[in-house]
Amino acid sequence: MIVTLTPNPSLDRTLQLAHLVRGGVNRAEGSRIDPGGKGVNVSRALARHGVKTVSVLPLGGPDGNVLADLLAAAGVEVRRVPVNGNTRTNITVAEPDGTTTKLNEPGPLLSVGEVADLATAVLEIADPGRWVVACGSVPLGVGHDFYAGLIGPLHARGARVAVDSSGDALRAVLAGGPRGDVPDLVKPNLEELSEAVGRPLHTLGEVVDAAGDLLSRGVGAVLASLGADGAVLVTADGARYGSARVDHPRSTVGAGDALLAGYLCEVAESPAADPDGDPRTPPDVRALSAALAWGAAATGLPGSRMPTPDDVAVIAVTLHDGIDPGHRLQAPPR
């Protein structure tokens, strides 16, 4: 079982509109709602592969109930932390020409007590050996050191910790919690990694060096997602680079979350040796391959839809024998 923590989940409503007119009355031609939030996406991807996962969420108001229901129907168990505020709704207006307009709520302000409840809920299900994945931004009322402060208590319970966040929350995590604990895994994208080390990253070599900086702070593994360039995994055993081809990319929304889910599924749920595979294949290689395949599969699906085993199975993954440090990375799509 894999535990995900999403302190600022959302209900994502997508409205299809012929043409958005600012200041006018716009009638939607279609709409759909999806559970939103990075940790929520990781859980959805895992559940789509039949992996047991619990999503720890602060939920409040009617949209909180809807979110819990949608996640259950997607196979995700929810550990609900009731809050007074209302779970936020994010609105995406999608026009036929591909233009999307996003209207995001900030999310509820959590009280000190609610933040403590959230931490308690995570610690209660953090059993020895279990992965706990903290994802995304922290809502109002939650300090930037929230994730950093959880790492020590989680490690004390024997849990392994992955963090996928950015900005101040990521910086605090990398600086170490009160006891100097750092995560077992971080999954930055290029921009987040660059932000974490405080320098621009243009080449694979620079990415590997930056990941090495994080390892020197005690981080167990760095899985850097590089968009169309693939991903780099750096651990104490060295750096590996791989990529995966997607014939018809449709949406990169949630692709990084699927990538992280693929990695975790492999390291947490697979038996030590794959009976069908080459027994000499190191676990790192299998985990990176899974991450690349899941991430690429997600980019071939619309919206934030998470891939099924069938979607993943058709992805061709290339693991490169060596890393060309001078390989220039494509600028991330905007």
Binding site: G75, V78, T308
Partner: protein, 149 residues
Amino acid sequence: MSALITPELVLLDVEVPDRGTVTRLLAQRLQAAGRVTDLDGFLADVRAREELMPTGLPGGIGIPHCRSAHVTVPTLGFARVPSGVDFGAEDGPATLVFLIAAPEGGGQEHLTILATLARKLIHQSFRDALMAADKPSDVVDLVSKEVAA
């Protein structure tokens, strides 16, 4: 406590024109078993949930469900529809339909049941076993084992 699913709540190999019909057939069984008090009220609640987002899952699954004041005890109904019925899944119609009914004001239990079932149904072996079941009691055994696990 009543069992979640009993042989009376299992319909094997029904042919239906649409999801509303299969849901109604199952709901009638729930009503006959005393698990649903007001058939139309319950069906309206199921419809409201279905309108929010379709409950079809990849692999030929439909899981209509709701929490309703017209439900007395957490219940699972099952229908096998060999020719399929649309539940809005991206990959086509559903051949395995689970109706999940939870009493209003109940705890989180029904969400755990729903989540467990949705996740177990990913596994081809479970779906194959449901497709191959000869009699309702086989379905009850299979589902009880998977959802309790």
